[in-house]
Symmetry: C2
Subunit: 447 residues, 2 copies
């Protein structure tokens, strides 16, 4: 079997990744359909189990059923294991793909050697995976060390506090957005330490393994960072601050969300919302009480997403950076995009635009399908589609109301958004083309 | 004055184009504020006059007032002159810019020489402008020759039929979408000849001058066409057919739109709607009676727009072609995009992505502003914003309801969408940069 997997991965690593994730989802679906997995003892329906398994493995956090009420403790443990394995699987598969897919995508070979991922340092795939696991577990342990004592104090029970602390530590670092309280985070959301621990976990997870690795190796010696780490941290910080400012501006006087909070809590909640819109998926206020304008801003931030090779989804912050740099160069009349004394190759722009085009197309098709299924106008189907595509997990409340057909649409979108649209495109490529000769240039007029 | 204009254009042709259009809008605004321009004899308000002048010069067709009822005959003549001058101005300025802006954008010099725009054949700017005018007037005259007799028969009055025929011929070829009937095209919309004449005028106008020039020179010798003409005609045909099919599918049983028509008229109306969504802006059924799904499809088609250097707006069909080809090449593992035995240079992708990013940003900001002003949810503000940005002129009925602040937002968007977002970006460029040395490549991880 391992030999077969190896042969498959050698032939098409992207297709192997698709199969691995499909297999994991099928496995956890069958577990969640066991009678012992639900609180009621009646087996969960196929659409519910498949949706939750997909949501957990893809670390999205959307769910048609209330996690705390619908599942037994065994079911909840199944879910957190699926999240942990899903998160680790995403990081390791994405790391390995970034190296091996390069053959078919033709864009990623050199970056590993040039850009801080010293393949000679990391050595073989096995040691790469080991480092991923060490970094993940170390951060999760640190989060749990903060959350467990705090939740024991809040819940007044050692076992419950311990279990909830572990659950939120894993859910936060993996950007999974699953909550174990029936009323969401509201039960513990007034404790700043819990909120900040979750927020820091989400941000660290969303930066991505290549950035965490650079941080681990070079700490705050900013100059030693590679261009990927610099761009990721810069765009993440920018989106986080601007998102929080806009959220605070739009919701300041909305009494259904943050309107009645004291000033410091308004600011804290705005930052929490901004951080989680880009992939975490945790919320202290319900999204469907937000203004329509806030939901639209949220659509944009969700679509943007987090860092590459991370548990965050979306089109990724470096994609946005590359597009912005291309635009800047164009406006200035420069021939090439430059950032941090590095020339961004033109082919990177092509990858970026492919990712955005594919993402926008998937979201458009899903939105149309959900509008057709529900008869609703655009707002909530669009929000839910982007949340699924970018594996964010924030909800306008629509997921709970969807019939099975709608759940399958969103599950397919979570899968496509997670396994990675570029990976997806590479898997679709039937053959490798080698250019035998080059045609003369022909340039259509644009704009 | 001409010397000053020349110096200005030499220094920054993009900025000169901005000034020329701003000047034209100011001129027609002042004309429309004259007492003789309105039917009532009371001068139009500044927001209304400014909006209609901008809409006419940018050949959009959005209007807060009913063209037939609000303006006098003199006002209507002012509008059609603004449309004609606006359309010709767009074609000539865009043609000249395509050559001269190339210095600052660094992307357009060679295309003119290589791609059928034989600059030695066209000679000086003067003869370029002459050809633009000849082609425009020839097509408008042909349209009028069909429309005038037909409208004389329908209206039962020679003078009215003559005037309306001329008006619709100009409005159609310039993709202006202004109608002279108080109830829109419904009064004449059951006549297939009128509809088809308008449809053909809109399509010809939306192909753009470079394509019309190629058609004029090479007729249907497809192999002699340059890559710009091939891509434009292909994507236009594809969007037209697919748009009509989707429209028919979604609206087939909607009795508020085409549901009660006989089959052939359903198909004809679907094609008419599809053609006009991409820029024409004429409609036989009101957009706000369409399904929400149809409005979303319409959003996408409006944003796509027509051909480059045409009276159509949007991001342009060649931009879509370049992005699609980049995606295809990426999925196949090819190093370069190829179409029709031509290599699409990587810098074309950068221009394409800049156009899309700028357009999406403008539409997002305008949508948020209109949502904030009106308190509505996303659907209608988004539709109206895309219609203005892409100078389409289809309306969800929102323009009529907007306060002056909302009208100014849409007018700014029509202006930005028309003068061309790449032109706009070039104008913003304060200085020309010459690269003294090249930094080593640095490639962030994407997707
Ligand atoms: K998530
Ligand atoms: K128009």
């Amino acid at each position: 079997f391992m030999g077969w997997m190896k042969a498959l991965a050698g032939a098409s690593p992207a297709r192997a990744a698709l199969l691995i994730f499909a297999f994991a989802i099928a496995f956890f679906t069958s577990l969640l359909m066991m009678p012992w997995a639900t609180a009621s003892g009646r087996p969960a329906s196929l659409p519910d189990a498949l949706f939750v398994a997909t949501s957990a493995v893809s670390v999205t956090g959307l769910t048609p059923v209330n996690t705390a009420e619908h599942w037994s403790l065994a079911g909840e443990i199944t879910i957190i294991v699926a999240i942990q394995l899903g998160g680790l699987g995403i990081l390791t598969v994405a790391s390995v793909l970034a190296a091996s897919v390069s053959r078919s995508l033709g864009v990623r070979t050199k970056q590993l050697a040039q850009e801080g991922w010293k393949t000679d340092q990391l050595g073989e795939v096995a040691s790469l995976i080991r480092i991923v696991i060490i970094i993940s577990l170390a951060i999760e342990a640190a989060l749990a060390a903060v959350l467990v004592p705090r939740l024991i104090a809040i819940e007044g029970d050692v076992v419950t506090g311990f279990w909830h602390g572990i659950f939120y530590a894993i859910s936060a670092f993996n950007n999974a957005g699953f909550v174990i309280h029936a009323d969401g985070l509201e039960a513990v959301g007034h404790d700043p330490i819990v909120l900040w621990a979750i927020m820091i976990g989400v941000v660290l997870g969303s930066l991505g393994f290549p950035v965490l690795y650079v941080l681990w190796r070079f700490r705050w010696h900013y100059r030693s960072w590679n261009i990927h780490a610099k761009l990721t941290v810069e765009v993440t910080t920018l989106l986080m601050v601007v998102g929080a400012a806009i959220y605070a501006f739009l919701e300041w006087n909305n009494n259904a969300t943050i309107g009645e909070m004291p000033m410091w809590e308004k600011l804290q909640s705005s930052l929490f919302a901004s951080v989680n819109m880009r992939s975490g998926g945790f919320s202290v206020v319900e999204s469907n009480h937000e203004n329509s304008t806030t939901m639209l801003i949220s659509d944009a931030l969700m679509f943007a997403g987090g860092g590459s090779v991370s548990t965050a989804g979306g089109i990724k912050v470096t994609t946005i950076a590359v597009i912005w740099l291309a635009f800047l160069a164009e406006a200035r009349g420069d021939k090439e995009s430059v950032a941090h004394q590095r020339t961004i190759p033109a082919s990177a722009v092509r990858v970026a635009v492919s990712v955005v085009a594919m993402g926008a197309t998937l979201v458009l098709i899903s939105t149309l399908a959900l509008m057709h299924i529900t008869g609703l106008d655009m707002e909530r189907p669009l929000y839910e589609s982007i949340s699924a595509f970018a594996t964010v997990g924030l909800t306008s409340g629509l997921t709970e109301e969807l019939p099975p057909s709608g759940l399958y649409v969103l599950a397919a979108l979570m899968f496509a958004g997670r396994v990675g649209i570029i990976t997806f495109a590479a898997a679709l490529a039937v053959r490798q083309r080698t250019t035998r000769y080059r045609y003369p240039e022909g340039r259509p007029i644009l704009g």
